[in-house]
Amino acid sequence: MNRHVRYLCAAVVATAMVCGCSGSGARQGASMVLRIGNGAEPQDLDPQITTGVPEHRIQSALFEGLATLDPKTLEPTPAAAERWEVSADGLVYRFVIRADAAWSNGEAVTAHDFAFSWQRILSPNLASEYAYMLHCIKNAKAFNEGRIQDFAEVGVRVIDDRTLEVTLEHPTPYLLSMQDHNAWYPVHRATIERFGPIDKRATKWTRPGNLVGNGPFVLDRWDPDEAIRVVKNSAYWGAADVRLDAIEFYPIQDLLTEERNFRSGQLDVTESVPLSKIEVYQRDEPEVLHIDPYLGSYYYRFNVTRPPFDDVRVRRAFAMAIDRESLVRNVLKGGQRPADCFTPPDTAGYTCSSAVPFDPGAARVLLAEAGYPEGRGLPTVELVYNTSENHKLIAEAVQQMWKVNLGVDVDLLNQDWKVYLDSMRNLDYGVARSGWIADYVDPNNFLECFLTGNGNNRTGYASEAYDALIAKANATIDPRERLAVFQEAEKLLLEDCPFAPLYFYTRIYLKSTAVHGWQPNMLGFIPFKQLRIATE
C-alpha cells in the first residue's frame, strides 16, 4: 500500500495515543480459540504450490510431515513417522510411519501417500516453485526438469505400507529439518484426483469440505480476505493432547489495523507491530510485546560486474564503513542484532568466526588503494531499495555513514517491489538492499545463495574456490568437520565481500498474556498443537 498513507495514519494514531488511551489485548471469556493475525491472504492452501510464510503457518496446522521441529531447540522430532534410520554414508533414510497416522477422513497415512506427494510436487507440469527443496533426492532434479519420465528412477521407494526409503543424491544433514517445510508435506491422492489432474494448479481440492489433511487441525471455513478457520481434527493421532478447539487466521495486511485489532481484543497474536508503536508498548505494556531472534539476514548487495564494485577493495571499504551497532541502536530500535557476517549466529550449531569489521580508518585506506582517495574519482553510486519506510530510514543512515566515513556521495533510488526485483535479476544496480529468510535451519541455506549462478546470488559473484568449499561441506558426513568447512567458505565469502552485512532480523509481534504454551524460536515456528488459552 501507499507508504505515505501508512505514514500519515501512523502519525494520526500516534497523536491520538498521546492524547491518552491504553486498552490492552485482554480478552473476554476463555474459549479455546486462538485468533492470529496472518499478514496476507494465502495464495492457495495447496502445500505444494505456495511459497509464503502466511500459507506455511496455516498448512502447518492442516498437514504434518514425516518429522516436525522441537519448538524450543528446532531439532527434528518424529511426527507422521515414528522413527527413522540413516545409513552410515548418510545417503539412505528409512522412515517408519506411525501406525495411527490418519487423514482427516479416517484413512491411514501410508508410505504410498508420501511417494505420491513427492511425485506430484516434482511433476514438471505442476511447476511448483519449491520443488527444488526435494532436489537432494536421487534423480529428483532430472525428473523435475523433465529429463527422466519414470518416477521409479527417483530415489523414493515404498517398502511396505508403513516403510518409506529415501535415497539421496549427496549427504543432506538437514533433510530431517526440512520435513517441516510445506514442500515435503503429504497430500491426499483421492481428494486431489477428484477435482482434477494431479499436476493442475488451483483446483477446488483445497476448499473447505474438500480438503483432506493429516495435521492436528482441519479446515472449517475459508472466507477469502476475511478469515480462515481451522478446527481440531479428531482423527489426528495426537488429538488427545491438542488443547485448542479452533484457530482463526486473519489476513490483515495493514499493520496499524492489525494493532488496533489487538488493542480492542479482537486478536490474540499479531503478525507484526508498526515501528512507531514499539516504544509505546515497551513503555506501557512490555508483557505483550515480543521480540524474538529470527533466522534471517539483512544486507546490501554489491553488483560485482560493474565498476566501482568490480574491485574487491571498494566493496570491502564500503562494507567496513557501516556502523552496524549504531544502525541497530538508533535507527531500527527493534532488538535486531548487528551483523558482521551472513549466517546468523547459532544456526544449527554454526556461528561464523570470521567478520567484516567496522573500521572507517582501514576502509579509507582501502578506498585510496583502489584509486579513489577520499572518494575522489569514484563513479556515481546508486543505492536501490524497494518501497518501505524501514528500508528508507536504513538507506538514509547508511548513506550518511558512507559520506562521513568515506567521503563518498551515494544516491538513493526507491523502486516499486517488482521493479526492484527486475533490477536485481538483470544486475541493473550498484548497491541494493536485500534480505534472506531461511527455509530450514542450516548454514547451507544461507551460504548456497552465493554459489556461482544461483538464482538468489544476484550480485554476479562467481568463485570456483567458494563453490568447491560448499560442495565439499555438503559431501562431508561428520557434522563437526562439515561446519568447519562452512567456516572456511564463509571466511572466503567475507573476504570477497560481494555484499555488506547489516543486521540479523528479529520477529516483533504482540501476544496476549492469555496464550500459553508459546515457545519463541528462530524460525517463527508456532507449535499450534501445544498452545492453550487461559485468562488467569
Binding site: 500500500m1 498513507v5 500519515l8 495514519c9 494520526v12 494514531v13 491520538a16 488511551c21 486498552g23 491472504e41 494465502p42 495464495q43 492457495d44 492452501l45 504450490i49 511459497t51 514438471p124 507440469n125 505442476l126 511447476a127 511448483s128 516453485e129 520443488a131 527444488y132 523435475n144 526438469e145 523433465g146 494448479r201 488451483a202 483445497t206 472466507d223 477469502p224 480476505d225 476475511e226 486473519y250 490483515i252 495486511q253 495493514d254 496499524l256 489495523t257 488496533r260 485489532n261 488493542r263 480492542s264 479482537q266 516499486d416 517491489w417 517488482k418 521493479v419 526492484y420 526485483l421 527486475d422 533490477s423 535479476r425 534480505g435 538464482g455 538468489n456 544476484r458
Partner: protein
C-alpha cells in the same frame, strides 16, 4: 428512446476493446512479472510456470487467446491468488464493495442533501455558514485520517463498534460513514449552489405568486432543478463508491474489490489487472448512461433535444 439506448450500448464495445488492448500491452511493459519473487526460482521452474499459464507463447498469440476467452466471459486464472479464478474473485468482491458503496451513498445523500438544502434557504446567515463550514472540513479531511479517528473514538475508547471486519451489521457503520463523509460534503455544497440558482428563477417566483406554501415551492418545484448538479456529480461518484475504496477497505479490513485492484497492480497479476480494469470500465460506462437518462428525466430541455 430505444434507439438512443441501443446506440449508447453499442458504443460500449469499441471503448472496452480499446481499454482492453491498451491495458494488455501496457502492464507487460512495466518491469517485473507475476513470477518475480524475493526467492528466485530456477530457469526450469520458471519455464514450467510460464508453460502452465500459456505465457510461453508469442505475445500476439497470448493477446488473441485472451480475446477469445474474454468473448466467452472467461477472465482467466489469478496468478497471485491462485485459489480462485478472476471471475470468482470479482463475483466474491464486488458485492461487498457494492454493499459498502450503497451504505456510503445513503450517508452521503442523506446528510449532504439535508445540509445543502437547509443552507440554501437562508443564504449567508449562520444557518448557511455552519453546515457549509462542516462540509468544507469534510472535504478537507481525507478518509485515511477520518477512519482511524473514528475507530479510536467509537471502538477503542467507547467500545461501541468493532475495529475492523465485515461480518455483522455493526462492522459496517464506521466504513460506511468514513467512505460517505467526503461525498456528503461535496453533495452539500453542490445542492446548496444548485438550489440557490433555481430559487432565483422566474418559475419559482410564479409559484410563490400563486400563493403556494414555501414547503411546496422548495420540495415540489425547486428541488427537481436544484438537484441537477448533484445528479451530474453522482454518476462518477457512484461508480467510484460502488467500485470500492482501497483506503477504506484497508483501514477496516473490508474484503472489497478496491483492494483487489490495487494489489493486483503491485503483484503484476496480469489477468487480475485485466479483469478488474475491464469490470470497472464497464461499470463506469453503465453509470454514465444511467446518469444521462436521469438528467433527461429531470430536465425537459435535454429530453426534448433527443
Amino acid at each position: 428512446m430505444l434507439r438512443f439506448l441501443s446506440k449508447r450500448i453499442l458504443e460500449f464495445v469499441p471503448v472496452l476493446f480499446v481499454i482492453c488492448t491498451i491495458t494488455f500491452f501496457l502492464i507487460r511493459l512495466a518491469p517485473g512479472g507475476p513470477f518475480d519473487a524475493e526467492k528466485s526460482v530456477t530457469p526450469e521452474v520458471r519455464r514450467n510456470l510460464e508453460a502452465h499459464y500459456h505465457m510461453d507463447a508469442p505475445l500476439a498469440q497470448q493477446y488473441w487467446d485472451y480475446l477469445i476467452r474474454l468473448s466467452h466471459g472467461d477472465l482467466g486464472p489469478s496468478f497471485k491468488k491462485e485459489s480462485r479464478s478472476v471471475n470468482e474473485w470479482i463475483a466474491l468482491r464486488f458485492p461487498v464493495s457494492l454493499e459498502l458503496g450503497a451504505y456510503a451513498i445513503l450517508v452521503a445523500l442523506g446528510v449532504g442533501l439535508a445540509a445543502g438544502v437547509f443552507a440554501s434557504l437562508k443564504p449567508n446567515t449562520w444557518r448557511d455558514h455552519m453546515p457549509m463550514t462542516l462540509a468544507m472540513a469534510g472535504i478537507c479531511i481525507p478518509n485515511f485520517v477520518l477512519g482511524p479517528l473514528l475507530v479510536l473514538l467509537f471502538s477503542l475508547q467507547l467500545h461501541w463498534l468493532p475495529v475492523s471486519g465485515w461480518t455483522g451489521p455493526a462492522d459496517k457503520i464506521l466504513p460506511a460513514f468514513t467512505l460517505g463523509a467526503s461525498y456528503a460534503a461535496y453533495i452539500a455544497r453542490l445542492s446548496r449552489g444548485g438550489m440557490l440558482e433555481i430559487l432565483t428563477k422566474d418559475f419559482i417566483r410564479t409559484a410563490r405568486a400563486k400563493g403556494l406554501s414555501e414547503r411546496v415551492v422548495v420540495l415540489r418545484h425547486a428541488l427537481r432543478g436544484g438537484l441537477q448538479p448533484v445528479v451530474a456529480f453522482l454518476g462518477p461518484a457512484l461508480a467510484g463508491l460502488l467500485s470500492g475504496s482501497f483506503v477504506v477497505e484497508t483501514i477496516f479490513q473490508v474484503p472489497g474489490l478496491g483492494r483487489e485492484f490495487v494489489q493486483a497492480a503491485f503483484n503484476r497479476d496480469y489477468t487480475m489487472i485485466m479483469g478488474t480494469v475491464l469490470f470497472y470500465a464497464a461499470l463506469i460506462l453503465v453509470f454514465n448512461l444511467l446518469v444521462d437518462l436521469a438528467l433527461a428525466w429531470l430536465d425537459p430541455r435535454i429530453r426534448h433535444a433527443h
